[in-house]
C-alpha cells in the first residue's frame, strides 16, 4: 500500500513538472509574441489562426507526428513538453492580446498625450491592465495541459498517464483511478490557486 502511495506521489510530481515546464515555455513565447502582435495588426490574424490550427490537432496524433522528427522528436519527456507547449500557446496568446487591446482607448490616449514613451506605456499601463486577462489565459492553459499531459505517457514521458495506460491495458479500474483522480485534483487545485492569484493581482 505504501509503495503504491509513493508511486502515486512521484508520478504526480513528474506530471506537475511536465506541466510547469510546458506552461513556462509557452508563456515565455506567447506573452512577448502577443505584445509584438499588438503592434502588427496584419500578422495578428495569421498567428492566431496558426495557433488555433495547432489546437485542433488531436493530442495523440500530435505526439505521433513529433516522434519521428530529428532533434525535437523521439521517445521521452522533451517531445511531450514540446507538444504540450504548442497546445498552451493559443489561450495565452489570445488572452494577452485581448487584455492589451482591451485597454480603454481614452487611457491609452492620455498616456500618449502625457508624454509617455511606447515602452513606458507598455510596462506601466498596458501590461498591468492586461494582468487579469493574461492570468486567465494561463489558468485555462494550465488546466487543459494537466489533462492533456496524461496522454504524454503514451510516448514515454511519464506522469499520471502511466497509471491510466497501465490500468487500461490490465482492465483494472483502480489503477486507472490512481492516475485520473490525482490528475483531476491537480487541475482543480491549479484552477483555484490561479483564480486566487488573479483576484489578488487585479488592478482595479
Amino acid at each position: 500500500m505504501n509503495a503504491r502511495l509513493a508511486e502515486i506521489l512521484s508520478l504526480t510530481l513528474e506530471h506537475l513538472w511536465l506541466v510547469l515546464i510546458a506552461i513556462g515555455v509557452a508563456a515565455l513565447v506567447a506573452i512577448p509574441g502577443a505584445v509584438a502582435l499588438t503592434r502588427r495588426a496584419g500578422l495578428r490574424s495569421a498567428m492566431l489562426g496558426l495557433a488555433s490550427v495547432l489546437q485542433t490537432i488531436p493530442s495523440l496524433a500530435l505526439f505521433g507526428f513529433l516522434l519521428p522528427l530529428p532533434f525535437i522528436g523521439g521517445i521521452g519527456r522533451h517531445t511531450a513538453i514540446i507538444a504540450l507547449c504548442l497546445y498552451a500557446l493559443l489561450p495565452i496568446l489570445r488572452n494577452t492580446l485581448v487584455g492589451i487591446l482591451g485597454v480603454d482607448p481614452a487611457v491609452r490616449e492620455s498616456a500618449v498625450a502625457m508624454g509617455m514613451t511606447p515602452s513606458q506605456i507598455l510596462w506601466q499601463v498596458e501590461l498591468p491592465l492586461a494582468v487579469p486577462a493574461i492570468l486567465a489565459g494561463l489558468r485555462i492553459a494550465t488546466v487543459a495541459t494537466i489533462g492533456t499531459a496524461t496522454v504524454a505517457a503514451a510516448i514515454g514521458a511519464g506522469g499520471l498517464g502511466v497509471f491510466i495506460f497501465r490500468g487500461i491495458a490490465t482492465v483494472d479500474t483502480a489503477t486507472v483511478l490512481a492516475g485520473a483522480v490525482p490528475a483531476a485534483v491537480l487541475a482543480l487545485a491549479a484552477d483555484g490557486g490561479l483564480e486566487w492569484i488573479e483576484k489578488r493581482l487585479s488592478p482595479a
Binding site: 498625450a113 502625457m114 508624454g115 498591468p128
Partner: protein, 281 residues
C-alpha cells in the same frame, strides 16, 4: 537652426509689446482619409488667454486640439509652441509641456489619485519628495483634500472628482499650455457649473494659456477670453464673448438661439459672461 533662433528672438521682441505668444497656428490643414477636417486655420494664443473652440460635433475642433500635441499629424501649415515649430520638438518632450484633459478623465484605473497626478513630474525625474509635495499642492488647489483623496483609486471617485484629478494631472509639471477637450461635458449641470467656476478661478491664479474645446455655448461665454467658432473645419468667427453675443453669422446665431430657448439659467450665464468680460477690460 539659425531660423529657429531668429523666430525665438522675434517672439521675445513681441513679448515687450504684449504678453508672449504661447501658441501660433498658421494655415493649418488636416485630412482624415479623403476628407478635409481642417482647412486654413489661423490662430494665436497669448499667455493667460483661454481660447474656446466652439462648434458642432464633427466640426474639427477636437482634431485641431490633437494637432497641437501631435496626436494627429496635420496635412499642411505650421504650429509654433513658444516660438518653436511643433515638428521640431521631440513629441515626447512636447507632450510633457502641454497639459491635456479629456471628457472622461482618461485616468489610469490601476493607479491611485496621487500616482495619476504625479505622472508627468515622475516621467521628468523629479525627486520623489518634490513630486509628493506637488501632488498635495495640486489636490488642495482643485478642492480634493489630499488626506482623503490621495490614496483613492479612480473607481472610488465621482465624475466631478475624476475631472478635478484630470485637471490636477494636466497642471502637474506646470506646463505653459493646457488643452481641454470637453472636460465638463459628461457632468451633471450643478457639478459642471462648480467646475467651470473653479476652472476660471484656477486659471486666474496660474496664468496658463488654455485651448478649450466645447459644444456648449454657455460654457464658451463663461470661460473664454476669445471664442473661435468652427464650422466644417474652417474658422467662421473669432470674437470676444461680448462680441460673440452680437455676432450675425448664421452659425453664431444658431448657437445663440440655443441660449434663448432654455429656461432661466442661460440668461444668467450670458450675463455672467458679460460681467466677467467687463471686469477683464
Amino acid at each position: 537652426m539659425i531660423i529657429f533662433t531668429l523666430s525665438e528672438r522675434s517672439a521675445a521682441c513681441h513679448n515687450n509689446l504684449m504678453s508672449a505668444t504661447v501658441l501660433e497656428i498658421r494655415d493649418l490643414s488636416c485630412r482624415i482619409g479623403e476628407r478635409w477636417v481642417l482647412r486654413s486655420i489661423e490662430l494665436e494664443a497669448r499667455e493667460g488667454e483661454t481660447i474656446v473652440l466652439l462648434g458642432r460635433s464633427g466640426c474639427g475642433k477636437t482634431t485641431l486640439l490633437k494637432c497641437v500635441n501631435r496626436l494627429v499629424q496635420p496635412a499642411g501649415g505650421e504650429i509654433r509652441i513658444q516660438g518653436r515649430l511643433s515638428s521640431d520638438w521631440d513629441p515626447i518632450q512636447l507632450r510633457r509641456r502641454i497639459g491635456y484633459v479629456i471628457q472622461d478623465g482618461g485616468l489610469f484605473p490601476h493607479w491611485t489619485v496621487a500616482a495619476n497626478v504625479g505622472l508627468v513630474p515622475r516621467l521628468d525625474h523629479w525627486p520623489p519628495e518634490q513630486v509628493e509635495a506637488r501632488v498635495r499642492q495640486l489636490l488642495e488647489r482643485v478642492g480634493l483634500p489630499p488626506a482623503e483623496f490621495a490614496h483613492r483609486y479612480p473607481r472610488q471617485l465621482s465624475g466631478g472628482q475624476k475631472q478635478r484629478v484630470g485637471i490636477a494631472r494636466a497642471l502637474a509639471a506646470d506646463p505653459p499650455l493646457l488643452l481641454l477637450d470637453e472636460p465638463f461635458a459628461a457632468l451633471d449641470p450643478i457639478t459642471r457649473y462648480e467646475l467651470q467656476m473653479q476652472f476660471a478661478e484656477l486659471r486666474a491664479g496660474v496664468g496658463k494659456t488654455a485651448l478649450f474645446v466645447t459644444h456648449d455655448v454657455r460654457e464658451a461665454l463663461l470661460l473664454a477670453t476669445r471664442i473661435v467658432l468652427l464650422k466644417d473645419g474652417m474658422i467662421e468667427l473669432m470674437a470676444s464673448p461680448s462680441e460673440f453675443l452680437e455676432a450675425r453669422t448664421s452659425e453664431a446665431r444658431a448657437f445663440l438661439a440655443s441660449l434663448n430657448s432654455g429656461d432661466k439659467a442661460p440668461a444668467d450665464t450670458a450675463e455672467l459672461g458679460q460681467s466677467r468680460v467687463g471686469q477683464a477690460e
